[in-house]
């Protein structure tokens, strides 16, 4: 059976139990990624203008790291001169 739990599904932790979450995270490459990301998020308060409290630091870092992991193929996508659809119009 294929699972994506080895890299933790995006936002899966949100409603998951603490036990399930710990199990999923165990052995994940995210484990190595998260402590530095937590530090980075703390340091980013100067950029964001807000200080993330300890209570929210870990879940936020987890979610951000999952999204960044998911985004690798997107980041490598070559889009040439294609412009953004920031305001979609089909007219």
């Amino acid at each position: 059976m294929e699972t994506r739990s080895s890299r933790l599904n995006r936002r899966a932790w949100i409603q998951g139990s603490g036990v399930g979450f710990a199990t999923l995270l165990f052995g994940s490459p995210l484990l190595a990624q998260e402590p530095p990301l937590r530090t980075t998020l703390r340091l980013m308060s100067a950029v964001t203008g807000t200080q993330l409290s300890d209570e929210w630091l870990e879940p936020t870092a987890t979610l951000v790291s999952v999204i960044l992991e998911d985004s690798k193929p997107l980041r490598s996508l070559e889009l040439g001169a294609i412009e953004p659809a920031t305001y979609f119009t089909a007219d």
């Binding site: 059976m1 294929e2 699972t3 994506r4 739990s5 599904n9 995006r10 936002r11 899966a12 949100i14 409603q15 998951g16 998020l41 980013m44 964001t48 807000t50 993330l52 929210w56 879940p59 936020t60 979610l63 951000v64 999204i67 998911d70 985004s71 193929p73 997107l74 980041r75 996508l77 889009l79 294609i82 412009e83 953004p84 659809a85 920031t86 305001y87 979609f88 119009t89 089909a90 007219d91």
Partner: protein, 469 residues
């Protein structure tokens, strides 16, 4: 009188109301009886508007009696997702943040339904700020699935889906940014239509992500979805993005055969990692359309593998931007899931956001290319069945994945392109859970989407099944 009117679709009720064979008050009373009986177990509403609804029903009755019949929505019991501003009626968006907000204006879509003579029976339950797919709400409790009350109703328009399926109202107004109309429609066994982006004004709908938000109906039949769309679509000076294209007579134009029409089958992505029971039922739905004269063609829609990341960057960044001041002043009023999503939105890069929007342009091009070979693109609406309340993992065939990954997977591409898509009931699991069949079309080609959906629906009986409640 036995409760039977409220089980019927709007298209059957409207002529009876017009001919004064039934009364809007009688219909309203049936809806209220259902709501009173089912709200304790299904929790489909955040606010029940009995007083306002009764007043509207009496007005409708008076008007119709005097010969002022407004059209097929006149006197019809409707629920409105609590995301839409309703004048003088509390609008919470499913959150404690807005628990006491009573707008002094109507969302444009609500105003149009009001003008059409709707009888609003309540504000339908929803996932907090439409930011999720389960409708397991930390502030107002879970909205439960009428087919199995231990399971989620889907989201974010979960109350709407459950209320229509359980006949607590005839139709409902919902919103869809990642599948929030089609997901609850599929898991509750009703019709859910996400029109083309900007076909319906977003004014007065509390945003999740401006560039992904769509407004549309959840109904008991495809014809009812066409009637609802005709009532709410069209330009709006209050929403500059709302399209100025003429609104077709959907109900009239969708009638007709599908003989010779081409069904695009995107085998890659849309048919991968799907529960075998769902796969089987959706394949049967395709064969049913083929038996009506449609032909199947395989289509290629490249770039879909990036959709989840694109959705994440766009939704998180736009949502955090909208919620900035609430986060500053009422951060502790959010549930933990939404709070974390909103906090995370501060830490994503602008370059990733813009890249996602650029990739969206490419996705639109790829879909337009596919539509050169097909009139519609069909797929399952969901790859898995809804889990029990509180459970966040589902089994999508050979893949165990989080419910959010699973439920967004086949829905989000059509939010990213902005193209129209509908979910119609197409069968049941061996345990009696409904299955949705998704039909998507070209931008502003709701007529073709509705035509295929209607032809399918009229040749089957799935939409007539009702949960035992």
């Amino acid at each position: 009188m036995p409760q039977e009117l409220i089980f019927r679709p709007m298209s059957q009720l409207a002529p009876l109301l017009q001919k004064k064979e039934i009364s809007p008050v009688e219909l309203f009373n049936e809806a209220m009886d259902r709501i009173r009986r089912l709200q304790p177990s299904l929790n489909s509403f955040i606010t029940i508007t009995e007083e306002e609804g009764r007043r509207a029903a009496i007005n409708a009755e008076t008007e119709i009696r005097k010969g002022h019949y407004r059209g097929p929505l006149h006197g019809i019991p409707i629920s409105i997702k609590d995301l839409f501003a309703t004048r003088a009626v509390r609008t919470t968006a499913g959150s404690k943040v807005l628990a006491k907000w009573v707008p002094d204006y109507n969302a444009t879509a609500v105003g149009r339904l009001d003008q059409a003579g709707m009888v609003m029976v309540g504000k339908a339950h929803m996932h907090e700020f439409a930011y999720g797919v389960t409708n397991d709400n930390p502030h107002y409790g879970p909205a439960r699935n009428p087919w199995d009350r231990t399971r989620v109703s889907g989201g974010s328009s979960g109350g709407s889906g459950a209320a229509v399926a359980s006949s607590q109202c005839t139709v409902s107004l919902g919103s869809d940014s990642g599948g929030s109309i089609r997901i609850p429609a599929a898991v509750c066994g009703v019709v859910g239509l996400k029109p083309t982006y900007a076909r319906v004004s977003r004014y007065g709908a509390i945003p999740l992500a401006w560039s992904l938000d769509h407004v549309g109906p959840l109904t008991k039949s495809v014809e009812d979805a066409a009637i609802m769309l005709a009532a709410i679509a069209g330009p709006d000076p209050k929403d500059p993005s709302a399209s100025s294209r003429a609104v077709p007579d959907y109900r009239k134009e969708m009638m007709g055969e599908v003989r010779g029409m081409r069904l695009g089958i995107p085998r890659q992505y849309f048919f991968e990692h799907v529960d075998p029971g769902i796969q089987q039922v959706v394949s049967a739905a395709i064969r049913q359309l083929e038996s009506l004269g449609a032909t199947s063609v395989e289509v290629d829609t490249p770039g879909l593998e990036n959709c989840p990341a694109m959705e994440a960057h766009i939704t998180l960044v736009e949502a955090t931007s909208y919620h900035e001041s609430y986060l500053k002043n009422q951060a502790n009023d959010y549930g933990p899931g939404v709070r974390t999503d909103l906090e995370a939105g501060r830490y994503l890069l602008g370059t990733d956001y813009v890249k996602s929007q650029r990739a969206r342009t490419l996705l639109q091009r790829n879909f337009n290319e596919a539509f050169k070979h097909a009139d519609v693109i069909v797929s399952p609406t969901l790859p898995a069945f809804p889990p029990t309340v509180g459970d966040t993992w589902v089994q999508s065939g050979d893949l165990k994945e989080s419910i959010i990954d699973a439920f967004l997977r086949f829905n989000i591409p059509h939010d990213l392109t902005g193209f129209p898509a509908i979910s119609v009931p197409c069968g049941f699991s061996s345990t009696g859970l409904p299955i949705g069949f998704q039909i998507a079309g070209k931008a502003f080609d709701e007529v073709t989407v509705l035509k295929v959906a209607n032809a399918y629906e009229q040749s089957t009986n799935w939409h007539l099944s009702r949960p035992a409640l």
